[in-house]
Protein backbone atom coordinates (compact mmCIF):
# COMPACT_ATOMS: atom_id res chain seq x y z
CA UNK A 1 0.00 0.00 0.00
CA UNK A 2 2.66 2.44 1.04
CA UNK A 3 4.64 1.45 -2.04
CA UNK A 4 1.72 2.69 -4.09
CA UNK A 5 1.06 5.90 -2.20
CA UNK A 6 4.64 7.06 -1.72
CA UNK A 7 5.29 7.93 -5.41
CA UNK A 8 2.08 9.98 -5.53
CA UNK A 9 3.00 11.86 -2.40
CA UNK A 10 6.56 12.37 -3.57
CA UNK A 11 5.35 13.77 -6.91
CA UNK A 12 2.86 16.11 -5.18
CA UNK A 13 5.54 17.44 -2.86
CA UNK A 14 7.86 17.90 -5.81
CA UNK A 15 5.25 19.94 -7.71
CA UNK A 16 4.52 22.04 -4.63
CA UNK A 17 8.23 22.66 -4.15
CA UNK A 18 8.61 23.84 -7.75
CA UNK A 19 5.55 26.08 -7.47
CA UNK A 20 6.82 27.57 -4.23
CA UNK A 21 10.22 28.14 -5.77
CA UNK A 22 8.60 29.99 -8.69
CA UNK A 23 6.50 32.08 -6.34
CA UNK A 24 9.48 33.07 -4.19
CA UNK A 25 11.50 33.94 -7.27
CA UNK A 26 8.62 36.10 -8.55
CA UNK A 27 8.34 37.92 -5.22
CA UNK A 28 12.11 38.49 -5.19
CA UNK A 29 11.87 39.98 -8.67
CA UNK A 30 9.05 42.31 -7.63
CA UNK A 31 10.95 43.32 -4.51
CA UNK A 32 14.13 44.19 -6.39
CA UNK A 33 12.37 46.00 -9.24
CA UNK A 34 12.02 49.44 -7.56
CA UNK A 35 15.75 49.44 -6.81
CA UNK A 36 16.48 48.78 -10.49
CA UNK A 37 14.46 51.85 -11.46
CA UNK A 38 16.99 53.97 -9.63
CA UNK A 39 19.43 53.17 -12.44
CA UNK A 40 17.23 53.85 -15.44
CA UNK A 41 19.99 53.38 -17.98
CA UNK A 42 20.12 49.65 -17.21
CA UNK A 43 16.39 49.39 -17.96
CA UNK A 44 16.72 51.48 -21.13
CA UNK A 45 19.50 49.26 -22.41
CA UNK A 46 17.29 46.22 -21.79
CA UNK A 47 14.31 47.79 -23.57
CA UNK A 48 16.64 48.28 -26.49
CA UNK A 49 17.79 44.67 -26.41
CA UNK A 50 14.34 43.19 -25.81
CA UNK A 51 12.02 45.64 -27.56
CA UNK A 52 13.86 47.48 -30.32
CA UNK A 53 15.61 44.43 -31.67
CA UNK A 54 12.33 42.44 -31.74
CA UNK A 55 10.64 45.20 -33.73
CA UNK A 56 11.44 43.90 -37.20
CA UNK A 57 10.13 40.36 -36.67
CA UNK A 58 7.03 41.61 -34.84
CA UNK A 59 6.11 44.15 -37.51
CA UNK A 60 6.83 41.75 -40.37
CA UNK A 61 4.61 39.11 -38.74
CA UNK A 62 1.87 41.67 -38.08
CA UNK A 63 1.90 42.76 -41.70
CA UNK A 64 1.76 39.16 -42.94
CA UNK A 65 -1.08 38.28 -40.54
CA UNK A 66 -3.03 41.37 -41.63
CA UNK A 67 -2.55 40.52 -45.33
CA UNK A 68 -3.62 36.90 -44.96
CA UNK A 69 -6.50 37.63 -42.61
CA UNK A 70 -7.92 40.20 -45.05
CA UNK A 71 -7.59 37.83 -48.02
CA UNK A 72 -9.21 34.89 -46.26
CA UNK A 73 -11.99 36.91 -44.64
CA UNK A 74 -12.82 38.54 -47.95
CA UNK A 75 -13.61 35.20 -49.62
CA UNK A 76 -15.91 34.23 -46.74
CA UNK A 77 -17.59 37.61 -46.37
CA UNK A 78 -18.19 38.43 -50.02
CA UNK A 79 -20.58 35.45 -50.20
CA UNK A 80 -22.83 37.22 -47.72
CA UNK A 81 -22.39 40.63 -49.30
CA UNK A 82 -20.65 41.86 -46.17
CA UNK A 83 -17.16 42.56 -47.53
CA UNK A 84 -17.20 45.99 -45.87
CA UNK A 85 -17.20 44.33 -42.43
CA UNK A 86 -13.76 42.98 -43.22
CA UNK A 87 -12.03 45.82 -41.42
CA UNK A 88 -14.07 45.22 -38.28
CA UNK A 89 -13.33 41.50 -38.20
CA UNK A 90 -9.62 41.98 -38.84
CA UNK A 91 -9.43 44.73 -36.22
CA UNK A 92 -11.26 42.78 -33.52
CA UNK A 93 -9.34 39.58 -34.06
CA UNK A 94 -6.02 41.45 -34.08
CA UNK A 95 -6.64 43.77 -31.14
CA UNK A 96 -8.34 41.22 -28.92
CA UNK A 97 -6.54 37.97 -29.65
CA UNK A 98 -3.91 37.71 -32.34
CA UNK A 99 -2.00 40.87 -31.42
CA UNK A 100 -1.26 39.92 -27.81
CA UNK A 101 -0.99 36.15 -28.37
CA UNK A 102 1.15 36.03 -31.51
CA UNK A 103 3.34 38.84 -30.20
CA UNK A 104 3.70 36.89 -26.95
CA UNK A 105 4.71 33.70 -28.77
CA UNK A 106 7.20 35.54 -30.97
CA UNK A 107 8.45 37.43 -27.93
CA UNK A 108 9.10 34.12 -26.14
CA UNK A 109 11.03 32.90 -29.15
CA UNK A 110 12.94 36.07 -29.91
CA UNK A 111 13.54 37.80 -26.56
CA UNK A 112 12.83 35.03 -24.02
CA UNK A 113 15.45 32.66 -25.40
CA UNK A 114 18.11 35.33 -25.52
CA UNK A 115 17.39 36.30 -21.91
CA UNK A 116 17.61 32.69 -20.74
CA UNK A 117 20.80 32.00 -22.68
CA UNK A 118 22.43 35.23 -21.51
CA UNK A 119 21.68 34.69 -17.84
CA UNK A 120 22.37 30.97 -18.09
CA UNK A 121 25.84 31.67 -19.48
CA UNK A 122 26.40 34.33 -16.83
CA UNK A 123 25.64 31.67 -14.26
CA UNK A 124 27.76 29.04 -16.01
CA UNK A 125 30.64 31.51 -16.13
CA UNK A 126 30.07 32.24 -12.43
CA UNK A 127 29.56 35.92 -13.12
CA UNK A 128 26.47 35.95 -10.91
CA UNK A 129 28.39 34.33 -8.08
CA UNK A 130 31.17 36.88 -8.57
CA UNK A 131 28.67 39.72 -8.27
CA UNK A 132 27.37 38.21 -5.07
CA UNK A 133 30.93 38.13 -3.77
CA UNK A 134 31.28 41.85 -4.48
CA UNK A 135 28.08 42.49 -2.50
CA UNK A 136 26.19 43.42 -5.67
CA UNK A 137 22.79 41.78 -5.67
CA UNK A 138 22.55 40.05 -9.08
CA UNK A 139 18.75 40.21 -8.88
CA UNK A 140 18.76 43.99 -8.73
CA UNK A 141 21.65 44.43 -11.14
CA UNK A 142 20.86 41.73 -13.74
CA UNK A 143 17.37 40.30 -13.37
CA UNK A 144 15.18 43.27 -12.42
CA UNK A 145 16.18 45.57 -15.34
CA UNK A 146 15.40 42.75 -17.77
CA UNK A 147 12.09 42.07 -16.04
CA UNK A 148 11.00 45.71 -16.27
CA UNK A 149 12.31 45.96 -19.82
CA UNK A 150 10.23 42.96 -20.87
CA UNK A 151 7.06 44.26 -19.23
CA UNK A 152 7.47 47.67 -20.89
CA UNK A 153 8.39 46.32 -24.32
CA UNK A 154 5.68 43.69 -24.70
CA UNK A 155 2.59 45.99 -24.81
CA UNK A 156 4.35 48.36 -27.22
CA UNK A 157 5.20 45.45 -29.51
CA UNK A 158 1.63 44.12 -29.33
CA UNK A 159 0.20 47.56 -30.18
CA UNK A 160 2.53 47.86 -33.15
CA UNK A 161 1.64 44.32 -34.27
CA UNK A 162 -2.07 45.20 -34.33
CA UNK A 163 -1.46 48.57 -35.97
CA UNK A 164 0.67 47.14 -38.74
CA UNK A 165 -1.81 44.27 -39.17
CA UNK A 166 -4.72 46.66 -39.64
CA UNK A 167 -2.71 48.71 -42.13
CA UNK A 168 -1.85 45.48 -43.95
CA UNK A 169 -5.53 44.54 -44.09
CA UNK A 170 -6.26 48.02 -45.43
CA UNK A 171 -3.69 47.56 -48.19
CA UNK A 172 -5.16 44.20 -49.25
CA UNK A 173 -8.84 45.02 -48.80
CA UNK A 174 -9.02 48.59 -50.07
CA UNK A 175 -6.06 49.00 -52.39
CA UNK A 176 -5.92 45.52 -53.93
CA UNK A 177 -9.45 44.09 -53.74
CA UNK A 178 -11.33 47.38 -53.88
CA UNK A 179 -13.51 47.36 -50.77
CA UNK A 180 -14.90 50.84 -50.13
CA UNK A 181 -12.44 52.79 -47.98
CA UNK A 182 -15.04 54.85 -46.09
CA UNK A 183 -17.07 51.79 -45.10
CA UNK A 184 -13.92 49.91 -44.16
CA UNK A 185 -13.02 52.51 -41.53
CA UNK A 186 -16.48 53.55 -40.35
CA UNK A 187 -17.76 50.01 -39.70
CA UNK A 188 -14.53 49.39 -37.83
CA UNK A 189 -15.00 52.52 -35.76
CA UNK A 190 -18.59 51.73 -34.75
CA UNK A 191 -17.73 48.14 -33.85
CA UNK A 192 -14.53 48.56 -31.84
CA UNK A 193 -14.59 50.03 -28.36
CA UNK A 194 -11.47 51.71 -27.02
CA UNK A 195 -11.71 50.51 -23.44
CA UNK A 196 -13.28 47.12 -24.00
CA UNK A 197 -11.34 45.92 -27.02
CA UNK A 198 -8.14 47.98 -27.30
CA UNK A 199 -7.74 48.41 -23.52
CA UNK A 200 -8.29 44.75 -22.70
CA UNK A 201 -5.90 43.77 -25.48
CA UNK A 202 -3.20 45.92 -23.90
CA UNK A 203 -3.89 44.44 -20.46
CA UNK A 204 -3.53 40.98 -22.02
CA UNK A 205 -0.21 41.85 -23.61
CA UNK A 206 1.09 43.18 -20.28
CA UNK A 207 0.17 39.92 -18.57
CA UNK A 208 1.88 37.96 -21.34
CA UNK A 209 4.93 40.18 -20.98
CA UNK A 210 5.13 39.32 -17.28
CA UNK A 211 4.72 35.59 -17.98
CA UNK A 212 7.30 35.51 -20.77
CA UNK A 213 9.97 37.54 -19.02
CA UNK A 214 9.46 35.78 -15.71
CA UNK A 215 9.74 32.31 -17.25
CA UNK A 216 12.83 33.31 -19.24
CA UNK A 217 14.57 34.81 -16.20
CA UNK A 218 13.66 31.90 -13.94
CA UNK A 219 14.91 29.31 -16.41
CA UNK A 220 18.13 31.23 -16.95
CA UNK A 221 18.77 31.81 -13.26
CA UNK A 222 18.00 28.25 -12.19
CA UNK A 223 19.76 26.53 -15.06
CA UNK A 224 22.35 23.84 -14.54
CA UNK A 225 25.69 25.50 -15.15
CA UNK A 226 26.64 23.32 -18.12
CA UNK A 227 26.26 23.73 -21.90
CA UNK A 228 23.49 21.09 -21.89
CA UNK A 229 21.82 22.79 -18.96
CA UNK A 230 21.67 26.13 -20.80
CA UNK A 231 20.38 24.40 -23.93
CA UNK A 232 17.60 22.67 -21.99
CA UNK A 233 16.72 25.85 -20.14
CA UNK A 234 16.36 27.75 -23.42
CA UNK A 235 14.05 25.08 -24.81
CA UNK A 236 12.01 25.03 -21.63
CA UNK A 237 11.63 28.83 -21.80
CA UNK A 238 9.93 28.63 -25.18
CA UNK A 239 7.73 25.67 -24.25
CA UNK A 240 6.63 26.89 -20.82
CA UNK A 241 6.16 30.52 -21.86
CA UNK A 242 4.13 29.56 -24.95
CA UNK A 243 1.88 27.17 -23.03
CA UNK A 244 1.53 29.72 -20.23
CA UNK A 245 0.49 32.41 -22.71
CA UNK A 246 -2.08 30.17 -24.39
CA UNK A 247 -3.57 29.00 -21.08
CA UNK A 248 -3.63 32.52 -19.65
CA UNK A 249 -5.19 33.82 -22.86
CA UNK A 250 -8.12 31.47 -22.45
CA UNK A 251 -8.66 32.58 -18.85
CA UNK A 252 -8.33 36.28 -19.69
CA UNK A 253 -10.64 36.00 -22.71
CA UNK A 254 -13.26 34.23 -20.60
CA UNK A 255 -13.00 36.99 -18.00
CA UNK A 256 -12.93 39.95 -20.38
CA UNK A 257 -15.22 39.04 -23.26
CA UNK A 258 -17.64 36.46 -21.89
CA UNK A 259 -20.52 38.95 -21.78
CA UNK A 260 -21.55 40.39 -25.14
Amino acid sequence: MSGLLAPIGRRTLEILRILGHHAFFFLELLRSSPAALRRPYLVVAQIHAIGNLSLVIIMASGLAVGFVLALQMYYALVTYGAAESLGLIVNLSLVRELGPVVTGLLFAGRAGTSLTAEIGLMKAGEQLAAMDMMAIDPRTRVLAPRFIGGIVSMPILAILFSTVGILGAYVVAVLLIGVDSGNFWSIMQTGVDVRRDVGNGIVKSMVFGVICTFVALYQGYETQATPEGVAHATTRTVVIASLGILAMDFILTAMMFSTP
Partner: protein
Protein backbone atom coordinates in the same frame (compact mmCIF):
# COMPACT_ATOMS: atom_id res chain seq x y z
CA UNK B 1 26.74 51.47 -29.91
CA UNK B 2 27.01 54.39 -27.51
CA UNK B 3 24.81 55.15 -24.56
CA UNK B 4 23.32 58.16 -26.34
CA UNK B 5 22.25 56.32 -29.46
CA UNK B 6 20.70 53.47 -27.47
CA UNK B 7 18.64 56.00 -25.57
CA UNK B 8 17.61 57.62 -28.85
CA UNK B 9 16.50 54.31 -30.32
CA UNK B 10 14.52 53.41 -27.21
CA UNK B 11 12.88 56.82 -27.29
CA UNK B 12 11.96 56.20 -30.91
CA UNK B 13 10.58 52.77 -30.01
CA UNK B 14 8.37 54.15 -27.23
CA UNK B 15 7.22 57.01 -29.46
CA UNK B 16 6.32 54.51 -32.19
CA UNK B 17 4.26 52.58 -29.62
CA UNK B 18 2.40 55.75 -28.66
CA UNK B 19 1.70 56.56 -32.31
CA UNK B 20 0.32 53.03 -32.73
CA UNK B 21 -1.88 53.46 -29.67
CA UNK B 22 -3.24 56.76 -30.97
CA UNK B 23 -3.92 55.12 -34.33
CA UNK B 24 -5.80 52.23 -32.67
CA UNK B 25 -7.80 54.59 -30.45
CA UNK B 26 -8.71 57.26 -32.99
CA UNK B 27 -8.63 55.70 -36.43
CA UNK B 28 -9.49 52.07 -35.69
CA UNK B 29 -11.83 52.48 -32.69
CA UNK B 30 -14.61 54.75 -31.62
CA UNK B 31 -12.81 57.32 -29.47
CA UNK B 32 -12.95 59.92 -32.23
CA UNK B 33 -16.60 59.43 -33.13
CA UNK B 34 -17.86 58.88 -29.62
CA UNK B 35 -18.64 62.31 -28.24
CA UNK B 36 -17.68 62.78 -24.60
CA UNK B 37 -20.47 63.14 -22.08
CA UNK B 38 -19.68 66.86 -21.79
CA UNK B 39 -21.42 67.83 -25.02
CA UNK B 40 -24.46 65.57 -24.78
CA UNK B 41 -27.72 65.60 -22.89
CA UNK B 42 -29.85 62.68 -21.74
CA UNK B 43 -33.30 61.74 -23.00
CA UNK B 44 -35.40 58.81 -21.83
CA UNK B 45 -37.69 56.71 -23.95
CA UNK B 46 -39.90 53.84 -22.83
CA UNK B 47 -40.63 51.02 -25.21
CA UNK B 48 -42.93 48.02 -24.86
CA UNK B 49 -40.32 45.94 -26.61
CA UNK B 50 -36.78 46.98 -27.40
CA UNK B 51 -36.08 43.98 -29.63
CA UNK B 52 -32.34 43.53 -30.09
CA UNK B 53 -31.31 47.08 -29.24
CA UNK B 54 -27.91 47.25 -27.56
CA UNK B 55 -26.05 49.77 -25.46
CA UNK B 56 -23.97 52.13 -27.66
CA UNK B 57 -26.32 51.65 -30.60
CA UNK B 58 -26.62 54.88 -32.60
CA UNK B 59 -29.46 57.38 -32.23
CA UNK B 60 -30.40 58.73 -35.64
CA UNK B 61 -32.68 61.41 -36.91
CA UNK B 62 -33.32 61.44 -40.66
CA UNK B 63 -30.53 58.89 -40.90
CA UNK B 64 -27.94 61.17 -39.33
CA UNK B 65 -26.29 59.88 -36.16
CA UNK B 66 -26.94 62.39 -33.38
CA UNK B 67 -26.18 60.32 -30.28
CA UNK B 68 -25.90 56.92 -28.69
CA UNK B 69 -27.84 54.62 -26.38
CA UNK B 70 -26.29 55.00 -22.92
CA UNK B 71 -28.17 52.33 -20.97
CA UNK B 72 -31.15 50.00 -21.16
CA UNK B 73 -33.11 49.05 -18.02
CA UNK B 74 -36.49 47.57 -17.21
CA UNK B 75 -39.10 49.73 -15.48
CA UNK B 76 -40.20 47.52 -12.57
CA UNK B 77 -43.70 49.07 -12.46
CA UNK B 78 -44.80 49.19 -16.07
CA UNK B 79 -42.51 46.41 -17.34
CA UNK B 80 -41.37 48.61 -20.17
CA UNK B 81 -37.80 48.88 -21.39
CA UNK B 82 -36.33 52.25 -20.43
CA UNK B 83 -33.73 53.39 -22.95
CA UNK B 84 -31.45 56.24 -21.96
CA UNK B 85 -30.18 58.22 -24.95
CA UNK B 86 -27.20 60.57 -25.00
CA UNK B 87 -27.90 63.14 -27.70
CA UNK B 88 -25.47 65.80 -28.96
CA UNK B 89 -26.03 69.18 -27.32
CA UNK B 90 -26.20 70.89 -30.69
CA UNK B 91 -29.32 68.94 -31.67
CA UNK B 92 -32.57 69.97 -29.96
CA UNK B 93 -35.77 68.07 -30.65
CA UNK B 94 -39.33 69.48 -30.31
CA UNK B 95 -41.13 68.19 -27.21
CA UNK B 96 -43.60 66.13 -29.25
CA UNK B 97 -40.96 64.20 -31.19
CA UNK B 98 -41.38 60.47 -31.39
CA UNK B 99 -38.84 57.67 -31.03
CA UNK B 100 -38.83 54.37 -32.87
CA UNK B 101 -36.58 51.35 -32.84
CA UNK B 102 -35.54 50.64 -36.39
CA UNK B 103 -33.27 48.20 -38.17
CA UNK B 104 -30.63 49.25 -40.66
CA UNK B 105 -31.13 46.96 -43.59
CA UNK B 106 -32.71 43.54 -43.42
CA UNK B 107 -30.14 41.96 -41.13
CA UNK B 108 -28.42 45.07 -39.77
CA UNK B 109 -28.11 46.36 -36.25
CA UNK B 110 -30.98 48.07 -34.52
CA UNK B 111 -30.93 51.77 -33.72
CA UNK B 112 -33.21 54.42 -32.26
CA UNK B 113 -34.77 56.75 -34.80
CA UNK B 114 -36.12 60.10 -33.60
CA UNK B 115 -38.71 61.82 -35.76
CA UNK B 116 -38.97 65.53 -35.04
CA UNK B 117 -42.41 66.88 -34.14
CA UNK B 118 -43.88 70.32 -34.71
CA UNK B 119 -43.97 71.85 -31.25
CA UNK B 120 -41.93 74.97 -30.55
CA UNK B 121 -40.76 73.90 -27.09
CA UNK B 122 -37.77 71.56 -27.09
CA UNK B 123 -36.95 68.65 -24.81
CA UNK B 124 -35.14 69.62 -21.64
CA UNK B 125 -32.27 67.33 -20.60
CA UNK B 126 -33.63 64.26 -18.80
CA UNK B 127 -37.09 64.47 -20.40
CA UNK B 128 -38.98 61.39 -21.48
CA UNK B 129 -40.07 60.92 -25.06
CA UNK B 130 -43.79 60.17 -24.83
CA UNK B 131 -44.54 58.79 -28.25
CA UNK B 132 -42.61 55.63 -28.90
CA UNK B 133 -42.92 52.71 -31.24
CA UNK B 134 -41.41 49.38 -30.30
CA UNK B 135 -39.03 47.29 -32.30
CA UNK B 136 -40.56 45.09 -34.93
CA UNK B 137 -40.22 41.51 -33.78
CA UNK B 138 -40.20 39.25 -36.79
CA UNK B 139 -41.92 36.35 -35.01
CA UNK B 140 -44.89 38.43 -33.88
CA UNK B 141 -45.07 40.04 -37.30
CA UNK B 142 -45.31 36.64 -38.97
CA UNK B 143 -47.77 35.50 -36.30
CA UNK B 144 -49.92 38.56 -36.94
CA UNK B 145 -49.75 37.97 -40.67
CA UNK B 146 -50.87 34.37 -40.31
CA UNK B 147 -53.62 35.40 -37.91
CA UNK B 148 -54.90 38.00 -40.37
CA UNK B 149 -54.82 35.44 -43.17
CA UNK B 150 -56.81 33.04 -41.05
CA UNK B 151 -59.29 35.76 -40.09
CA UNK B 152 -59.67 36.74 -43.77
CA UNK B 153 -60.24 33.15 -44.74
CA UNK B 154 -62.70 32.74 -41.86
CA UNK B 155 -64.75 35.80 -42.75
CA UNK B 156 -64.59 35.02 -46.46
CA UNK B 157 -65.68 31.42 -46.04
CA UNK B 158 -69.40 31.85 -45.04
CA UNK B 159 -70.34 34.03 -48.07
CA UNK B 160 -68.32 31.74 -50.29
CA UNK B 161 -70.02 28.70 -48.80
CA UNK B 162 -73.55 30.15 -48.98
CA UNK B 163 -73.84 30.56 -52.76
CA UNK B 164 -72.07 27.28 -53.34
CA UNK B 165 -75.21 25.17 -53.72
CA UNK B 166 -76.62 27.72 -56.17
CA UNK B 167 -73.93 27.20 -58.73
CA UNK B 168 -70.45 27.17 -57.21
CA UNK B 169 -67.60 29.54 -57.60
CA UNK B 170 -64.30 28.85 -59.13
Amino acid sequence: MGKKSIETFVGLFVLLGLVGLVFLALKAANLGTFASSGDTYALLAKFDNIGGLKVRAPVRSAGVTVGRVASITLDPKTYQGVVRLQVDKGVQFPADSSARILTSGLLGDQYVGIEAGGEEKSFAPGDTIKQTQSAVVLESLIGQFLFNKAADAGSAAPPAAAPAPAGGKK
